[in-house]
């Protein structure tokens, strides 16, 4: 079973809803949209030969310059029988960052989605308990977004006296 076969099978089933097929370091990567993410993941999980039955990782990314698709949700699936991995991405606009939850397919997505919500503010519709997980509940911003830059290590405007130097 090669990446080529998987990609062809997905294209036959989902057509134009899947695009941007890539193979960085041999890991099949593709992009879909939020209308099709659940059916695509279910299809891959229940496929007779592919059997992507393991959700390895679910995380988010913020791309502020990517107009209309500022937020990404990235799924890493693993087919343990065939030992093949696949990466699926969904991009969302910052005005409407909703995506359906996958907790009904994999219970393990529960905390992964909570973590993604906690850091990026991506809203997973239908999630049983979408609250912050690692940060304090009173926090009113999403810290992994790029607008919250960490202090630049090379800055020169610090007043030494304030830092006891």
């Amino acid at each position: 079973m090669t990446n080529q076969q998987i990609a062809e099978d997905i294209v036959v089933k989902f057509g134009e809803n899947t695009h941007s097929f890539e193979e960085p370091w041999g890991l099949l990567t593709l992009t879909t949209n939020r209308q099709n993410i659940i059916s695509l993941l279910e299809y891959l999980k229940q496929h007779e030969t592919f059997r992507f039955n393991f959700l390895t990782d679910l995380t988010g990314i913020h791309l502020p310059d990517n107009q209309g698709a500022e937020f990404g949700v990235i799924y890493h699936l693993h087919s343990l029988q065939n030992n093949v991995r696949i990466r699926i991405k969904v991009f969302l606009s910052q005005d409407d960052i909703h995506i359906p939850t996958v907790t009904s397919i994999w219970p393990t997505a529960n905390w992964m989605e909570r973590e993604t919500y906690d850091f990026f503010g991506i809203l997973f519709d239908g999630h049983p308990n979408l609250i912050r997980i690692l940060n304090i509940e009173e926090m009113d911003y999403f810290p992994m977004r790029k607008e919250y830059a960490l202090e630049d290590a090379t800055r020169e405007d610090k007043i030494d006296a304030l830092f006891g130097r």
């Binding site: 960085p24 370091w25 890991l27 990567t29 039955n53 393991f54 959700l55 390895t56 990782d57 995380t59 990314i61 913020h62 990235i74 890493h76 343990l80 030992n83 991995r85 990466r87 994999w106 219970p107 393990t108 529960n110 905390w111 992964m112 973590e115 850091f119 912050r132 997980i133 690692l134 940060n135 304090i136 810290p143 992994m144 919250y148 960490l150 202090e151 630049d152 290590a153």
Partner: protein, 411 residues
């Protein structure tokens, strides 16, 4: 959590092994955040019906340090210090996993000798991780002496770390492109003594004390079982998944760092209960010793680092005499070298399971986005389900056998 408290229907009542009662009062018990039996700072709010746990709610994040955010500002070589502090019981595995991720991005091939040294260090780390888990499981069931005996061996592993990198707990071992120094004759002698003499003896003694000990076995058999299917749904990996009967091990499925050269077995359990988790870890210690012996025996000659000027620091004596080396030294230390753009996922078999690094580079000096797939974080969410209907003392044992490491849980 509220909906399952009162067993109003038959299935809930059966699961809890009690009659259907409409008006039961429950006790709330806080297990943690700083309870000694949690071995780390995280809280479980347990709803108790007498001795039995009805449901649990977890609060984590007490030692969250925003590693993923900090990593976005750091040059690649400075991120090992963050990975050290995730699973601090086996930091060399975290370090090597990160180096290998960057090497994958850069397309660096590491010489065989460096691979073998890494394998030795990673397996030592796995041994020390499993020693902690299993001996503390003994402590949690009331058997303190086993813990004291085998901690002597862990101390010896830490001495080997010291010999290799100067540090004990947060090792910061290895460099992008290889190891920072070769195995010294002292280190080799210490490793040989550990895997050929002292550890096999101590571990055999430990197993003699525990494996068929009636009191211990009665406490852990059939406690907190999980089926293989459910474990997969919950994203279990590592010894906890293998205890449930699924033989997934990253070292075999996707061999990294020359693991394909070694001959070792993957121990697998049946029921996924605490006893199986304990036995799988015990057996893995023997397998790790096997790997280390093979690696020492077949240790290839040659360089212990790749010819990777942009990331591997030049030898110090060259820095003073050679212009080229001085420039690279400066550029590496100041973090002025841009990595190629790309997207990499690399996984290693950590002490607790698949430790993944998802790295997105935009061609800058630091990662654009770095996500750690932390096995403890992912499987700890199954804990309330595993301890439903058990007594509090069993819940402690289950928690202990899962080997949840707070640093890895919170990142």
């Amino acid at each position: 959590m509220e909906d399952i408290l009162i067993p109003k229907n038959t299935s809930d009542a059966l699961a809890l092994n009690r009659p259907i009662v409409e008006d039961t009062e429950y006790t709330t018990l806080n297990l943690g955040p700083t309870h000694p039996a949690t071995h780390g700072i995280f809280q479980n709010i347990l709803k108790m019906d007498g001795e039995k746990i009805v449901s649990g709610e977890q609060t984590i994040g007490y030692i969250h340090r925003a590693f993923e955010k900090i990593a976005e500002r750091r040059p690649f070589y400075q991120i090992t210090t963050l990975t050290d502090r995730m699973n601090y019981c086996s930091s060399p595995i975290n370090n090597m996993g990160w180096h290998m991720t960057v090497e994958k991005l850069l397309g660096v091939t590491v010489p065989k000798r460096a691979d073998y040294i890494r394998v030795i260090m990673m397996e030592l780390a796995r041994i020390s991780d499993h020693i902690i888990c299993n001996s503390i499981l003994g402590v949690d069931t009331g058997a303190y002496s086993g813990f004291l005996y085998v901690f002597q061996e862990r101390e010896k592993i830490y001495e080997i770390y010291e010999e290799m990198c100067g540090a004990r707990l947060t090792t910061n071992m290895g460099r992008i492109g290889g190891m920072e120094r070769d195995l010294s004759p002292t280190a080799i002698a210490k490793i040989r003594d550990l895997v050929n003499n002292s550890l096999p003896k101590a571990w055999a003694e430990f197993e003699k004390l525990f494996n068929r000990n009636r009191i211990f076995v009665d406490r852990i058999v059939n406690v907190g079982p999980i089926t293989g299917e459910r474990a997969l749904e919950y994203g279990f990996t590592g010894p906890n998944l293998r205890a449930a009967g699924i033989d997934y091990d990253v070292r075999v499925m996707e061999p990294y760092s020359s693991y394909q050269d070694f001959d070792f077995d993957i121990p697998v359990g049946h029921n996924g209960d605490t006893y199986d988790r304990f036995m799988v870890r015990n057996q893995e210690i023997w397998e790790s010793m096997k790997i280390i012996r093979q690696a020492l025996e077949n240790l290839p000659e040659g360089p212990y680092y790749a010819n990777e000027n942009h990331y591997y620091l030049p030898p110090k004596h060259d820095v003073y005499k050679n212009m080229e080396a001085l420039i690279y030294h400066f550029k590496i230390v100041m973090g002025e070298i841009d990595a190629p753009a790309g997207e990499v996922y690399h996984a290693v078999e950590g002490g607790n399971g698949e430790l993944g690094f998802y790295l997105v580079s935009d061609g800058g000096r630091a990662p654009y986005r770095l996500h750690f797939r932390r096995p403890s974080f992912i499987y700890y969410q199954a804990y309330p389900e595993m301890c439903k209907g058990v007594s509090i003392s069993d819940a402690i044992v289950i928690l202990s056998s899962l080997n949840v490491i707070a640093g890895e849980l919170d990142a």
